[in-house]
Amino acid sequence: MAAFVTKRLALALLVAIFVSSISFSLMFLTGDPAIAIAGEGATEADIEVIRRTFGFDRSFAVQYWDWISGAASGDFGQSFYFNQPVVELLAERMPVTATLAVFSIGFALLLALPLGILAAVKRNSLADRLSLALATVGQATPSFWLALMLIVLFAVNLRWLPVSGADTLAHFILPSIVLGYYASPSMMRLTRGGMIEALRSDYIRTARAKGMLPRTIILKHALRNAVLPVVSVAAVEFGFILGGSVVVESVFSLRGIGYLAWESIGRNDFPTIQAIILVYAMIYVCLTFLADVLNAWIDPRIRVA
């Protein structure tokens, strides 16, 4: 276990360094951030002041080192735009995105698991075809479009749900549906495929030969085996939801990280963008780690060699 954790930490570190250097050099290429900060109407002198204050006149390596060593101690620098430590900014926005992500993945799982199981158990039935259709359409629908359509329908025409903001949990319903619906097909297919494969396997035949009842066979014998890959994918999807929340957060004006990222890109707020990319990368690494642990917990073949 210890060896595994160390290995994972090392991987996380490598990923962090790699990702951060990519994002940092990206930002560095963007040209002079000082001009962006100065805003409309600034003179060359103003820009020079800003350049000096923020240290943009130093070399790439120095700036990168400065940033990454700061980041290591939890200091991602100051947002150019908000003039506020990025950490504070992230801490402020994180709850919204986290809530959204949890709701979305919850919605996705709620949709994917039962439908996936149903589709597998009743293969080639109407239920199977309908859930497959639901999945295929879900994968094909652009989420920004779905978001707009849902707003038109539920918020404007029916007035059941609020249009934007994050004040109450009701505000999260539509965005969670949009994100969750986009994330669920892969999990649904995986559940279905896993269940079909499990149901076809020899040990299920054994269980049936033992006279086990269908419920036990499906839930105890097949599902456990089928969810193994779903766990990993759910972790990855969770990461995607965080990253993909840019679009949805901007449509629903949810003041979360994704939205902050999108706005920060527009404002050339490099410290914020860099920090967000790095944080996302770390969250992703942590999630896959968690998924591995969870899989190991379910699967003795991984747990006990």
């Binding site: 060896a3 595994f4 190991a296 991984i302 747990r303 006990v304 060699a305």
Partner: protein, 323 residues
């Protein structure tokens, strides 16, 4: 030139150790698949190699084919280390036949492409010549030449195995390593393939290393037989001798497990304890002692040396009876 009966390949103290990962939370551990194999493959003969699953037969085959490198020891082909031969030269002189006729043929290729592949690789640019050779091989295999444009998926297991044999022989090699070439086949098909192999041996003056877990087959086809157990040769002798007077308790157990159809005998009783060998955790002393019916106290402490009488050798404290 090696004369018939003289060793064409010499395996000298070959070891192969794999590092096996132990799952997510553990590190890697060594697995000694081969532990000091010394064996001669006599030219023009059939050397049978038997042993139970996981004892290292395929590992040895891979090493002989140059597909894997030994961790220790060396292999001599016609008294030169195989590393001295170029990849291609060596490849044209030693060819494999594998167990699974499904995985040994590329499903995307036609019979023609499959059989002529070695020729193409060895630089035969004359397509008419290649075609001639392919057809000759098909003819030798007893296959109608119209299968030449068929795909493996259109053929039965036995037919596929013939294609695999044709591919192995099209470069006219000296040595053919047969790694359980019939164990995936039904008896009726197995008989066809065995007959074919024996005919081809005569026709091409081939040397076979015939690996199998089926002693019946090995007894039928081999001139010499080596018995392997957990990465070691525990006994080697002429087929005649070995089946008549086995020396090693493991060989005896193997022979006792052969099930010749005989309705008057019940299930055999095998002089073996119900302990399974585990290549990851080798027992102390003689690795066979936990299963051995004849084990004595020293067996669990000291590994026995090889005892040799004539061309019969074994690795057991009891040693060999003088013939």
């Amino acid at each position: 030139m090696t004369r018939p009966g003289d060793p064409i390949m010499k395996i000298r103290d070959v070891t192969r150790t794999y590092q096996v990962s132990q799952g997510l939370f553990r590190g890697r551990r060594p697995l000694q698949a081969l532990r000091g194999i010394t064996l001669d493959i006599p030219k023009g003969r059939v050397l049978g190699l038997v042993g139970e699953s996981g004892c290292g037969k395929s590992t040895l085959a891979q090493i002989l084919l140059g597909l894997d490198r030994p961790t220790g020891g060396e292999i001599l082909f016609e008294d030169r280390p195989i590393a001295d031969y170029g990849r291609k030269v060596f490849g044209s002189r030693i060819q494999p036949i594998f167990q699974d006729p499904y995985s040994s043929l590329n499903p995307r290729k036609t019979v023609r492409q499959l059989i002529e592949m070695p020729l193409v690789v060895h630089g035969n640019r004359d397509s008419a010549d290649r075609e001639r050779r392919v057809r000759r091989m098909l003819d030798l295999m007893g296959m109608p030449s119209r299968v030449i444009d068929a795909y493996p998926a259109q053929m039965s297991g036995g037919q596929r195995q013939r294609i695999a044999i044709a591919r192995a022989l099209v470069t006219e090699p000296d040595v053919v390593i047969c790694d359980e070439p019939t164990s995936a086949l039904d008896v009726s098909v197995q008989a066809q393939v065995l007959n074919l192999l024996m005919d081809l041996r005569a026709e091409f003056d081939l040397t076979y290393l015939f690996i199998s877990h089926d002693l019946g087959v090995v007894e039928h086809i081999s001139d010499r037989v080596a018995v392997m157990y957990l990465g070691q040769i525990v006994e080697e002798a002429d087929a005649e001798t070995l089946f008549r007077a086995p020396a090693h308790p493991y060989t005896k157990a193997l022979l006792a497990s052969i099930l010749v159809p005989d309705p008057h005998r019940g299930p055999p009783s095998v002089p073996l304890k119900a302990v399974q060998p585990d290549a990851m955790n080798l027992p102390s002393g003689c690795v066979f002692h936990p299963r051995c019916a004849e084990a004595v106290a020293t067996c669990s402490v000291t590994a026995p040396d090889e005892s040799v009488v004539g061309d019969h050798r074994t690795r057991c404290v009891v040693g060999l009876p003088s013939h």
